[in-house]
Amino acid sequence: MNLKALPQRRRGAEDAQRNAKTLAFPLRCLSLRLCASAVRFFLLAFAAFAISSAPTLADEGGRTARPAIDIANPGKCVAPAEEMRRNHMEMLKHQRDRTLRQGVRGEAASLNACIECHASKQTGSVLGSNDNFCQGCHAYAAVKLDCFECHQPKAGFKAAGVKP
């Protein structure tokens, strides 16, 4: 039986080439990792600087920055703060429909009542800057606020009116 000889030498050379490539690859990875960690370090350093110098964020002791809000008469809300944060929009929506369509007056949830207590001491309004109640939180949560396209945002506002 005459068996054909396998090309041993050529295969050996190919293996050597392949081995050389696998040796070079970790070296390249290492250099990339070094670059990435340097970039990360600078980004972290910049972020730490940006957070420490942000003026409008309060509650620095906590892990999450919170909006600083100026409320004239706090602590008299119709429901606990956690419930109001989650559900105030639903409460106001149902109240507005009952008041406008059925004529029900004097409900606990009412936008005017919100404004009377939560307007800022300085401006008397819930809008105007990120220190003010409605705008501060909505800007923080990036939620559009369009109640005040029609509703009056100032507490105790009296329309000047047309004088005869």
């Binding site: 369509r101 059925q102 004529g103 007056r105 396209e149 009056q152 329309a159």
Partner: protein, 256 residues
Amino acid sequence: MSSQDKNPRRAFLAAAGTGVAGLGFTVIAPGLHLMAVAGNADAANAADARKPGSAASPAVRWGLLIDANKCAPGCRKCIDACHSENGVTEKLPDPRQNSQWIRKIELVDRRTGHSTQLPMMCQHCAKPPCVDVCPTGASMKRADGIVLVDRHICIGCRYCMMACPYKARSFVHTPLHEQNPEVPRGQGCVEGCTLCVHRVDKGLQPACVESCPEGAMSFGDLNDASSAIAKQIASVPTTQVRADLRLDPGVRYQGI
């Protein structure tokens, strides 16, 4: 039937009968009760203010009676009072774009030259065409007959302005900032006379009625036969404007 009757139900009916007779006597003889109702309509209405938490009643139909004979030429008190109460203060470069919740109209008889003044506003129809045409359901009639726009869902298409035969509705063209807290209004919505619904719910009269120096306007419940407005409508001839359209307006005029 005597009060010694053994049947307690009969005794109750007898007592009720004497009570009603007594009330009628006090009204007729000194006239005190009647004067109190007629002279102090505000106080009478304040007693009618709905309790907080109760809805508008379909048993009530709020309406106005306007005596055009008493309406003085050149007087704008009702317009000013309305626009002041509702914060309609904007003055646009094109005055045709200003909101107009109430306006004065002059009717001149060409043959005699006799002119009649009258204020015209939303007529608070029983079958309002603005409600029929509204594509979103924003234009609505409350149970007590007051026709309103729900600005939360008004898209400002202005179909209702086209449909209203009284030209009672206006469109807000510019951003507003001077709203009365009780009367929210803003750009991009249609609006009109609300019959001062925020005052009526408190038991007060609409601003125009209160401001009229001639006493030409009266406000009340058309369904309540004992109200001053219902008595007046029953006793003097009054007309609804464009009664041929059969919209049954809640505003009636006298002397046109």
